[in-house]
Symmetry: C2
Subunit: 411 residues, 2 copies
């Protein structure tokens, strides 16, 4: 059960949970081009501020499989700025680095390498956006790992049999077994689970003393029969699942009574699709573990660009399709909606100097029985006030409210 | 004048000179794909072996402006492997890092940053192949500099006026002023020199005590009136010019009596064009500086793939164009030439396990008065014995021997 009090003592692991940072998303957009780096910087600032033992990332650190030079440079620079320094690392590593990091050119922990002075070790699995490809089967995290700025774990080399060796860490009396499984095609992993070809190795002795944390990056929502990982596939000896890939913030741990574990899903730190899941306040989490107890404290991100979504059904309004001026009136109606959302954005602004003033706005307009209007012309009047003037309006017909269209996302 | 004895004393700077390593050249070739990394590794091994104070690179570390992930990873890994460690750096840095590296995200020397444990500092300017481009005007060296594995200098920010601030270093009684000028379009730099808009700043005091070394990466050979940098454009207070970009090895310092300086041109460590300049044995140099004296000791590279070029004029042979079997005879003639070159390659092999067995072979065939034959068919018989079976034969007509065709190179 989540524990109630937040300890900062010598037996408590303090772990910053963040995922789906998508560095590079929208980088060519003149307004939004730096959003992802701004969020990543806030995340690392919070790691310092909360004096964490380590940062744990759940995949999709990069949006592009081959990040641009500017984005790779930005990422390396932020890691160097925030994660190096004299602060000593407070926990012990008990497992064999050369096994945990056997897939890496340097099968070592960065903070145990005398050539790097690491203050906050960052551990990361890869996501589907930044997975290994090409000659050498490398991904962006390999590059950052070899540069000594991250600890890349959870890469599987076999496509037939997956054995996950946990990273074993101890802080005071608390023992943490950290399992990582980098992103795989859901159908393939689903099949491997069904065939019992995925095994989570466990420490030989005192198995019950360990807190077992699994990080993975897969579909949690059911897209089709096999295109997701059912929670019940995961071993019930696990205590907590840190679920990446799903961009909706569901960071407050949810209990799975069948499996007897909790799931925390922090969600992305940037909206990469303009749908409901991304409208929720973005969070990272402070995970504290003491013995077999844990607690996740959600930390709202204050620099993320605001995003407001509203559904409008023209047939449910007083607008009359036979009114000769109906076109003008529809536009006026939508304009008022946007103005209201802009007002809301202003009142809900975090106050952070780094949170942009121009929010993302999406109006989904069911125009059944009416005509559409020019999205671009409409957008132009909100230039410099809205971050996405050209994509504010989405027309659709006879929308079944409540059905989430998962197909159009790419998390 | 170059000094005669090689000192390893406390007053002698020991600098490894290497240039035009072109990491990534031919990386997609199944035979030659790793050649550039193999050479870079040998260069760094030599730096360790010769106990140098620093490595100085003359540009074109990368062949592609946007190196592939595999090549960037290979480069970072080699730098981490060979240039980090406990060996103390033996010279002092006297100038202001924040001025010398003002163009960098981290305007500092890597070995003076307490967060990195650097044993051999590497200094590099950029070449025309890896020059800064795009948003943020970044290049690959910026990335490696920010990762703490290189010291990137010689980046100019103004296009109108260039002022080169030297890196001032002292070892014992020897004072070194290291000037760097990263690659610029030759025509532009030529014009800036003519307009007197290029200035090399000098230390205020005791100007005559400094050994002045300039690293640049430009055309040295005259391609057209303005498409090169005449040696006499360079200040005559300079003692030694380290000339990058030209791939031909002319590492033994050449005296320019008009300017009163020496020029050393180590040449590339990989053949990127199959022309005369690239046939010479590839070298790097050990530069030793004591007071105002210096010496360059050429170090032959033993892992570089061998390259043999021969010119053949069919009209000068006993082959008879009217012979009904002349086609077969020409091929037999060329085959013998190749066999002879292969024998030569075998006898001249360095003996290094890492030097490939399959050399590059180029036969330039002046076929005036004769017919050509199928280059591909000819090449197939040398598969697995020659590194470039498909590109061995180059047909031409009435070739004026001795005129170097500079246009077809891309150094
Ligand atoms: Mn994902
Ligand atoms: Mn994602
Ligand atoms: Mn060049
Ligand atoms: Mn070159």
């Amino acid at each position: 059960m989540p524990r109630e009090q937040g300890d900062d003592d010598a037996d408590t692991f303090r772990i910053l949970l963040a995922t789906d940072i998508h560095i590079g998303y929208g980088e060519k957009d003149s307004v939004r081009g730096n959003d992802s780096l701004v969020s990543f910087e806030e995340i690392l600032e919070q790691a310092q501020k909360h004096n964490v033992d380590l940062v744990l990332l759940g995949g999709d650190l990069f949006h592009e499989n081959k990040p641009s030079r500017r984005m790779m440079h930005g990422c390396l620079s932020l890691l160097r700025k925030y994660c190096m320094g004299d602060r000593p690392v407070q926990f012990e590593f008990l497992s064999d680095e050369s096994v945990n990091f056997e897939h890496c050119q340097f099968p070592t922990l960065n903070y145990e390498d005398q050539n790097f002075n690491i203050s906050i070790p960052v551990f990361s699995i890869h996501g589907n956006h930044d997975d290994p490809t090409g000659v050498g089967n490398l991904c962006s995290l390999d590059l950052i790992h070899s540069a000594g700025l991250i600890n890349y774990f959870g890469k599987t080399t076999s496509l037939e049999k997956i054995r996950v060796s946990p990273l074993l860490m101890q802080k005071g009396t608390t023992k943490l077994a950290l399992y990582g499984l980098g992103s795989l095609k859901d159908e393939r992993l689903h099949r491997l689970f069904l065939k019992k070809n995925v095994s989570m190795l466990r420490p030989r002795e005192n198995q019950d003393d360990w807190f077992n944390l699994l990080t993975l990056h897969q579909n949690r929502a059911k897209h089709s029969d096999t295109n997701f990982i059912p929670e019940q596939f995961l071993d019930d000896f696990l205590d907590l699942i840190f679920w990446g890939h799903e961009h909706e913030c569901r960071i407050v741990p949810e209990w799975n009574g069948m499996q007897n574990f909790y799931i925390t899903q922090p969600g992305s730190s940037i909206a990469t699709s303009l749908n409901e899941g991304e409208t929720k306040q973005k969070h990272i989490g402070l995970l504290q573990i003491k013995g077999k107890d844990f607690k996740v404290t959600p930390i709202p991100l204050t620099t993320v660009r605001q995003f407001y979504l509203e559904d409008v059904v023209l047939a449910d309004t007083t607008l009359n399709p036979n009114d000769p001026n109906v076109g003008r009136k529809i536009e006026a109606f939508c304009r008022e909606k946007v103005e209201a959302l802009l007002e809301k954005a202003e009142s809900e602004h975090s106050g952070s100097r780094k949170q942009p003033k121009e929010p993302l706005i999406r109006l989904r307009v069911d125009y059944t029985g009416f005509d559409t209007f020019s999205i671009n012309r409409f957008g132009r009047q909100f230039m410099n006030r809205v971050a996405n003037p050209d994509q504010m309006i989405l027309f659709n017909q006879r929308r079944k409210l409540g059905t989430k269209n998962k197909q159009d996302t790419d998390e």
